[in-house]
């Protein structure tokens, strides 16, 4: 350990304390880790002078990443995604996802990033299935966006039109004014917005 002095001002008026730091990882819960903190009462500096926290922080982050990978893969299983089908689409060796799920070792950063994206945007699996073909990828993306869009709109069950009382009233105006923007014969889906409304309400 180096000299017990403040790195900023050189004073030896240092006090050591421990703090609890909360670490968060997307798709894993929070974890708290105890860290060491030195405070200089002469100049007000505070920090980890002797690099004592780095290891504990890294271990905590690694543990949360393992948990995130497991949570994401469990979520895939709960939503009836077949691991072998995903592996086939992504062209990764069979049993890879199972290994990631059961492994207690630190997953690579690339694995964690890939799984987070797949969890957020499962339609990326379909893009891979279509061999990353750009027009197909665009169609899948837009199709998913439209589905999300329609699911968020409120329709009247009887008239199957947008509810004017909702906060998205402007959408109805937009659609009725711009029917020429989305003509069925020109869009890749072959239907117009009122038809989408029909689909959404199950009519």
């Amino acid at each position: 350990m180096d000299d017990y002095i403040c790195p900023a001002c050189g004073s030896d008026d240092l006090s050591k304390s421990t703090l609890v730091k909360s670490i968060q990882e997307p798709f894993a819960c929070k974890k708290e880790v105890e860290i060491v903190n030195y405070t200089c009462s002469t100049c007000g500096f505070d920090g980890d002078i002797f690099k004592e926290n780095e290891k504990a922080l890294q271990e905590c982050i690694d543990e949360l990443k393992i948990r995130a990978v497991k949570n994401i893969l469990e979520d895939f299983q709960q939503n009836n995604y077949s691991f072998s089908a995903i592996e086939r689409a992504l062209e990764i060796p069979q049993r890879t996802l199972s290994k990631w799920k059961s492994a207690n070792s630190k997953p690579s950063a690339a694995v964690v990033a890939l799984l987070k994206y797949l969890h957020l945007f499962p339609w990326l699996i379909e893009v891979a299935e279509q061999k990353y073909d750009y027009p197909a990828a665009q169609r899948i993306h837009i199709s998913d966006a439209l589905e999300q869009f329609v699911n968020r709109m409120a329709f009247d069950n009887e008239s199957r039109e947008l509810k004017t009382s909702t906060t998205i009233r402007f959408l109805q105006v937009e659609i009725s004014n711009q029917s020429d923007v989305f003509p069925a014969e020109n869009n890749s889906f072959g239907f117009t917005f009122p038809e989408l409304a029909t689909i959404s309400t199950g009519g």
Partner: protein, 132 residues
């Protein structure tokens, strides 16, 4: 020179990490705003030119220096990383031989953060358009 100073700091981040110490809140801000969670991640980001469009903002004496005879200057820079603008302040105490990262946070001045060149270009353009 401010840019030489920063290069020396980068060298320290590369080869002499035990003598580079982030001030208390720096790691929290680096994590919160730039997804840099550990000291290692922060130093690797600095070493590998993560601070794009680095611009020297100012150099001031460290106001809270309890030993004014040992002058410590704080060098402040703005930078960009993707669409985020940041601010970094560093200083070095020649007696302790330590580099201190005093601040690493989002920049509050986006105009300055995009760089003097961009400012000059924008000003020239505005003058030309005004002249018509």
């Amino acid at each position: 020179m401010p840019y030489n100073y920063f290069n020396k700091f980068k060298e320290a981040c590369k080869h002499d990490r035990k003598n580079v110490i982030p001030w208390g809140g720096v790691l929290n801000d680096a994590d919160k705003f730039f997804n840099l969670r550990t000291e290692t991640q922060l130093y690797e980001f600095i070493i590998h030119d993560g601070l794009e469009d680095l611009n020297h903002q100012n150099t001031k004496q460290w106001e809270k220096n309890p030993k004014p005879e040992n002058i410590i200057m704080v060098y402040a820079y703005t930078f960009r990383t993707m669409c985020k603008y940041g601010y970094i302040a560093i200083m070095r105490n020649e007696l302790t031989k330590k580099w201190i990262i005093k601040s690493f946070k989002p920049s509050t001045n986006k105009l300055l953060a995009v760089g003097n060149n961009a400012m000059q270009i924008a000003l020239k353009k505005a003058i030309i358009e005004k002249k018509g």
